[in-house]
Symmetry: C2
């Protein structure tokens, strides 16, 4: 069998040349995802899906630790339910898929494939809730949702995606607000501690908030091309839905009240974020805590006596907590394997050959810095565990530094426009808080208000775009 | 606050009086499930969903231990794909939900909500597979599917249910057959080792097999009312789909070949099986390994000094591996709590009051045998862990004994009919293997061939129903 020496790296378009093409090359060539026969729908392949499983595992534990339980609501929602809350139906009706027939029969009422589940969940909550003693309701569901998108890109915007949606009820506005912010904080922890993605957290403007929400909070990350990604949102829904759906309870003062309501979600979009924050021109760079394979062992001169045995011995020693794999494929050379696993973003490569064995050492390569050095086989497990943490910390720090370098101040619409063209990134500015000003900025620059950050800075008294009195400091950027 | 002393048990219809009503009472009163606004679709509430999560965790590990990986395929399947394999479309087309509109636009081609994913998966496999070196493909997906059912019952038959569907490709027929049987064996382990449900395994008749399968294997359990439940199936699909979808690979002899194909699935129907195999007139009896709460601590005279402290201390001691809960609600008496947790089927109740504390003991109640006795607080964790295993073993044994008592031989159609009326259960008989004979038996008795068991018994030379030469020993029963 001839050795294949194809250079995978040459197949990936450099990101400086064409960032969207770089993204497409990376996700397809690393086998994370594929296009399906239905336009706008993706197949998530095992190498991508494993990341989602690791995200689920981490978040699900955080949800349970904060008292939430999982449940499951139907996929299909009657049109009449979707229409019960006015803002909500306006926001979602244009992008839902409609089921009109069951088998050969036409349905009396159309059903939509859930674009999100507030309406059907509220219809059930209204049946279930009786007394303030039963509150809070702290429920979450893992599922897929469908939103008919005209222009799609795998992970980032697809007509179907996987997500979790939490839906809670509370006795008071304050309780709902505390829940909304608690969940946003769990999202931030997930981004930073699991995915090594630094995020800015804050509130969405009225224009950008969720259809039907009292207030929407968001975490925003900056991608390598200087565009923002909304990576997770948490909504304080007030009593909009609980009134529309007549959810009531007997309050502690003996009066019938409407509870306060939150919802919050993150999706497979996070995987797109991982790719675009950490990736480079060799391909993926996976954060160690979500990588399917954390360590790959590549035997050198594997036909020589003792090499494969030693490789398997190392796998056994390192295994257990560490997700590890040996690439002992005979049909490919070590060089080819190096390229492949670098492209696939495996955080650590261990090379072991006859000379290493002689010296009781292995060669270690780390994907994030591309450094390679010799390490003693003694205490290798501790070395690797510590290195995985170091890689995480370094990736988070590097991404934070990159983001900060791409974050700047603007003091006029012209400056924003120029900057977004020439050096896209987060722009900070003061804003009057008015919708027509916001819409003008978007129309002129393509950039939208990402959030009113919790960490406000005082950059002046006047709106940098219209000159009126300033209300908030904001982050503005073009976004996915 | 007045103490409520409502006897929940009185609200459950005795199973001898009306088994379907007993089932409905149990699932609703224990908060496992609820009916949704869409006819035939259920809401799985946290107490039911937790069981599904425990099933998923156990099975997913077994799948991974046998080399399978998870991935995700789209929810919607184009009509043209569904129609590519003739038997399959005939089997599923009458029961699919059709999406005809995306937003305001009518779609050029109708899409069905997946009733199962063979077709869309095969369309992707045909794109992906190149060489025998890439085989086997060992993939699984966890998702929901929709089949438009006219008559539904929560967990047992609903228009939407949650399941896993494995879809594998192999180089040879033998490899596919080995996979098919391996997965059936994992299902049997799940039934017996996790759910304490004894099952009969074997092959489905031509009439009862999956639409498009070469051979379907099944595990069949017997419910408390003497009806059978098909609890999981594994299909050797041969090359039916791989030919229809033109999936090919370059074989080791340099020829283009079609791979062999399997699929296998279990669903939330298993939860219905748990209820109907183990439940009694007090309500649920949950197998310890899937119960959301394995142990509930009920403090006695909890207002007395030291009682609640001791209860929390015990929870801390027992926690970790054991899923444990304290019911310290002040508004209900211990007697009310006993009833409630018995109805909810929690395997072990621990009572601790002032007198117990004095004696360094607790009272232990086990749900499966309704026994109650005193146990020393010393070594309580080991006592409880062992007891959870004992309860599992006892439940499995009890269910096996019950099933065996309800399994009998028949030697004629008349006898089968009479037995199914008077003492429903599994009937064993010899069968000629012919479809018209099978259809006659079903029409006359309402009972269907559940399987041709792997463990064949020689009960005679002639078909017990038509007198022709016998080919197989079979299990016959009315079924869910
Ligand atoms: Zn302004
Ligand atoms: Zn016959």
């Amino acid at each position: 069998m001839a050795k294949k020496e194809k250079q995978f790296v040459e197949d990936i378009t450099p990101m400086e040349v064409d960032f969207p093409q770089w993204y497409t090359d990376v996700i397809l060539k690393t086998d994370m995802v594929d296009y399906s026969p239905v336009k706008g729908f993706m197949v998530i392949k095992p190498y991508g899906y494993a990341i989602w499983e690791n995200i689920q595992k981490y978040m699900d534990q955080k949800f349970k630790d904060t008292g939430h339980q999982n449940l499951y609501f139907p996929l299909l929602i009657p049109e009449s339910l979707l229409k019960k809350e006015a803002e909500h139906v306006e926001g979602f009706a244009p992008e839902v898929a409609w089921v009109t027939h069951g088998g050969d029969e036409e349905l009396a009422e159309r059903l939509c494939v859930r674009p999100t589940s507030e309406t059907i969940i509220c219809s059930m909550y209204s049946k279930w809730l009786n007394s303030y003693r039963e509150l809070p309701y702290l429920y979450n569901q893992w599922c897929s949702v469908v939103r008919w998108e005209k222009s799609t890109r795998p992970f980032l915007r697809t007509s179907e995606f996987l997500w979790q949606e939490g839906h809670t009820l509370h006795e008071t506005y304050e309780d709902a607000q505390a829940e909304t912010l608690q969940m946003l904080d769990i999202y931030k922890q997930t981004a930073e501690e699991l995915l090594a993605i630094p995020v800015v957290t804050g509130q969405k403007s009225e224009k950008e908030k969720f259809a039907g929400a009292h207030a929407t909070y968001t975490m925003e990350a900056l991608m390598h091309d200087g565009k923002a990604l909304q990576a997770g949102t948490s909504h304080n829904l007030g009593q909009h839905f609980t009134k529309a759906f007549e959810i009531t309870f007997l309050g502690r003062n003996g009066e019938i009240e409407n509870p306060y309501h939150t919802s919050w979600g993150v999706s497979t979009r996070l995987i797109g974020g991982i790719i675009m924050v950490h990736g480079d021109n060799r391909g993926l760079v996976l954060p160690p805590r979500v990588a399917q394979t954390q360590v790959v062992i590549v035997p050198i001169a594997q036909h020589k006596e003792g090499v494969l045995d030693k490789a398997y011995e190392l796998k056994k020693v390192l295994g257990g907590e560490i997700r590890i794999k040996i690439d002992d494929n005979e049909n490919y050379s070590p060089g080819w394997k190096f390229n492949e696993w670098e492209m696939k973003g495996v955080p650590i490569r261990i090379e072991v050959g006859p000379r290493d064995i002689e010296k009781n050492q292995v060669m270690i390569f780390r994907r994030d810095t591309l450094e390679k050095w010799a390490v003693s086989m003694d205490g290798l497990k501790e070395t690797v565990k510590k290195l995985l943490d170091d890689i995480h910390d370094n990736m988070l720090e590097k991404a934070r530094k990159y983001r900060d370098e791409k974050t700047y101040y603007v003091t006029s619409l012209e400056e924003l426009k120029k900057n977004q063209e020439e050096r896209p990134g987060f722009a900070k500015a003061m804003w009057c808080g008015e919708r027509n000003c916001e819409e003008h900025v978007k129309a002129e620059t393509g950039a939208s208000i990402r959030c009113i950050p919790f960490e406000q800075e005082d950059l002046g008294d006047k709106c940098h775009f219209c000159g009126k009195e300033a209300k908030h400091m904001i982050y503005v950027a073009r976004a996915y």
